[in-house]
Symmetry: C2
Subunit: 140 residues, 2 copies
C-alpha cells in the first residue's frame, strides 16, 4: 500500500462554535466550511493548515461536534472528553490497502470500504495502530 | 499570529520498534530517522507522510517512546496508554504568537519559548485548545 498524504486530523469537541473561538479566532486558521453529516452524527468544521489555499492538498483540522450523545462519537466525548480523535490518510486504492493490511495482520474496523462524505473510507482499529484510530480515504 | 503549516503529529508508544512494525512496515511510511533526546526523555522515530521526500515541508508522524517512566511523557503513557499525544504547528515568530495567544486568553504551558531539538518551541495547554496539546515551533 502507498499513503499519498495526510488528509486530516480530527478533534472531538463539545461545541463547535466554542472550538472555533480557539482554532479559527485565536490560532487564526481559516475556516473552509461547516457541514453536518447526519449518517455520522457529527457537525464538522474544516480548517486547512498550511500555505495552499486549494483545500485539496492541504492537511486540514476537522473539529467534530457529535449531534447525538448516543452515537459512537457522542459516547467517546462523554467518556474521554474533548481532544484528538483520529487521523486520516489518503490512499489511491483503498480496497488494495485494506487487503494488504489484513494480510499483514493489522486489526481493522472495516475490512471493506464504506461510503464517506467525500469518497470511500475505512478505519484501522486503534488496537492495530498503537492506540491511534486511523482512517483511510480514497477520494472521489 | 500565522500558522505556516502542520509540522508533525506525535504518537506515544510503549516500544518504538514494535510501533515501526505497523507504521513503517504495514502502513509503508518511510522512516526518516530515529533520534534520542535525553532532555525530553524520549526516543523518536520520524516518518514523513506525503509526496515530498525533502522532509522539510512534509508533515511527519513522530513515534515517541518514553525513556524514563517517571518523566511527564512516561507517566502519560502509564496513565492513558498509547495513542495520539500532541500536534505541532510551525510559526514564523513564536514569541509574537505566544504574546498574541496570551492576549486572547488562551491558556499556555510556556509563556516564553524554550529550546527544542530543531528550533524554539512552546506548548499551548490542552485546556486552552479543547483537549489538544498543541506545540508551536519556530524552526532554526
Amino acid at each position: 500500500m502507498t499513503i499519498k498524504r495526510l488528509d486530516h486530523i480530527a478533534i472531538v469537541v463539545g461545541n463547535l462554535d466554542a472550538a472555533l473561538g480557539v482554532y479559527r479566532d485565536a490560532l487564526a486558521l481559516p475556516l473552509d466550511h461547516v457541514e453536518t453529516i447526519p449518517e455520522q452524527n457529527v457537525k464538522i468544521g474544516t480548517l486547512p493548515v498550511g500555505d495552499s489555499e486549494t483545500g485539496n492538498n492541504t492537511v486540514c483540522i476537522e473539529l467534530l461536534e457529535p449531534t447525538d450523545p448516543n452515537s459512537g462519537i457522542g459516547r467517546y466525548l462523554a467518556q474521554r472528553g474533548e481532544g484528538l480523535h483520529h487521523i486520516c490518510v489518503e490512499v489511491d486504492d483503498i480496497a488494495a490497502a485494506l487487503a494488504d493490511l489484513k494480510a499483514k495482520g493489522v486489526k481493522l474496523i472495516d475490512e471493506t470500504p464504506r461510503r464517506g462524505a467525500h469518497g470511500k473510507i475505512a478505519f484501522v482499529h486503534p488496537k492495530g495502530a498503537h492506540g491511534v484510530l486511523v482512517e483511510l480515504v480514497q477520494r472521489d
